[in-house]
């Protein structure tokens, strides 16, 4: 399945500055692994050593949070958009 992955500003330096990437795979995790092959270290920013999504990052397939679908095993279809959203605080002066 070919999907579009939206990379948040915080992670763009891990993927050569790209805001949008093409990814392929049948599930969210497969897509992340696909991107990781091209940009090593990317997946680790999102997924901890136990294989779970880090709690300050959300991932959406289209507009649904994968935590309420099938988490990293959530299936994706052609044309879906996978969005990565870390929490931000702003500010600091």
């Amino acid at each position: 399945m070919a999907v579009q992955v939206r990379v948040p500003p915080l992670l763009r330096e891990a993927v050569g500055g790209a805001r949008l990437l093409e990814g392929s795979g049948d599930t969210v995790d497969a897509v992340l692994q696909d991107i990781d092959r091209r940009h090593p270290g990317f997946r680790e920013r999102l997924i901890d050593e136990h294989g779970a999504l880090r709690r300050f990052v959300n991932v959406y397939v289209n507009d649904e949070d994968i935590r309420y679908l099938n988490k990293l095993a959530t299936p994706v279809r052609d044309g879906d958009t996978v969005s990565i959203l870390p929490s931000v605080a702003g500010g600091g002066g």
Partner: protein, 365 residues
């Protein structure tokens, strides 16, 4: 069924809803049915003699019900009844001054606002957490629109580096307390507004007492401990929270309503220290908080007026570089420790510890 507008100060009785539907052929029956469904309503509206408190104005279809028309006033099934607290100091039906009519004219002529809507704004009490990048446009627009009471929480002083984005402060304010600079700017914009200054860091010791004085909270905080503190306090006090944030060129906005999820449902844990740079470290384009803060002001007014569809269970995502707005869904997490089915957090905690920050570097407030 009759549509009843619930003033922001009474929405704790209706689980946050701005409009409810009840049956009633007369005002008296309507209030009885309101009390059955939402206990506490009767006492909020009526005194011991069974008449309306002097500080409550009653409108049927946007027309004021004067003192002489009583509880037997008939109500049609498609009518809308609004109970609106009178503005502080007002006794009996409130009249706008000619200056107020002129000042608010452009919004009063909107059918969705009208004179009743303007009174709802003047009766509302909104707390802005932070008088910085987000708080500035939010507070400015809310004051301009005539929100009657605006609280400002900030204990920072104005710095030159603030001025590229923090609209409440000017060059002459450098070195002043942000709250005082804010008050002067807001009063200059609209002397109708009662600006209440909370020149303290918001902590677990004072948050409930401060937030408890207001109907709606607008979050413009700049650090994670405060975000979680404000969130938890709003859940515990059942206050709507109009949230916003941004990073570089991306912004976010949403509205958390009591019972419909909270910030922890969205982000159960903060990033480890250092993983999410602040604007001071990463930078931000000045106009960007202007967009998000204005959106927060609009959402706040929609809640006060009871109009439109607020960003409840919707996270608005703004990408300024591509000028794209998108939305993702937010759900209430049944396992959320503070607003879930079995809450484990029932009082405010140590947020600095929760966010893993060394105590000296905490930026609460």
């Amino acid at each position: 069924m009759v549509a009843v507008y619930v003033p922001t100060s009474l929405r704790r009785l209706t689980n946050g809803q701005a409009k409810v539907e009840v049956d009633g052929d007369t005002l008296d029956m309507l209030i009885q049915n309101l009390e059955l469904q939402y206990p506490g309503f009767r006492q909020a509206l009526l005194d011991e003699g069974g008449g309306f408190h002097r500080f409550v104005n009653v409108y049927i279809n946007n027309r004021e019900v004067g003192d002489e028309v009583g509880m037997a006033t008939p109500i049609g099934k498609d009518d809308e009844v609004a109970f609106v607290p009178a503005i502080a100091g007002g006794a009996g039906p409130l009249r706008f001054t000619p200056e107020q009519v002129k000042r608010y004219q452009r919004q009063i002529i909107l059918p969705e606002v009208g004179p009743v809507g303007q009174r709802k704004l003047l009766a509302a009490k909104v707390l802005c957490i932070g008088a910085g990048g987000l708080g500035s446009p939010a507070a400015l627009y809310l004051a301009a629109a005539g929100v009657g009471t605006l609280g400002i929480v900030d204990f920072d002083t104005v710095d030159l580096s603030n001025l590229h984005r923090q609209l409440l402060h000017g060059h002459k304010d450098i070195g002043r307390l942000k709250t005082e600079s804010a008050r002067d700017t807001l009063h200059d914009r609209n002397p109708d507004v009662n600006v209440v200054l909370h020149n303290v860091p918001l902590t677990s010791e004072n948050a409930l007492e401060i937030i408890g004085q207001y109907d709606i909270v607008v979050n413009g905080s700049d650090n994670f401990p405060t975000r979680y503190l404000v969130n938890d306090a709003c859940v515990l006090l059942k206050k709507p929270l109009v949230d916003g944030g941004m990073f570089k060129f991306d912004g976010q906005a949403t509205v958390f309503m009591p019972g419909k999820g909270c910030y922890r449902c969205l982000f159960p844990a903060p990033p480890p220290p250092g993983a999410a740079p602040s604007c001071a470290e990463a930078g931000v384009l000045g106009a960007l908080p202007g967009v998000i803060g204005a959106i927060q002001a609009v959402e706040t007014m929609k809640l006060i007026l009871g109009i439109g569809e607020p960003l409840v269970n919707r996270l608005l995502l703004f990408d300024a570089l591509s000028m794209e707005f998108r939305e993702v869904k937010i759900r209430r997490d049944p396992e959320c420790p503070v607003c879930g089915d079995n809450p484990t957090i029932t009082e405010l905690i140590d947020y600095v510890e929760f966010c893993g920050l060394p105590r000296e570097s905490a930026l609460i407030g």
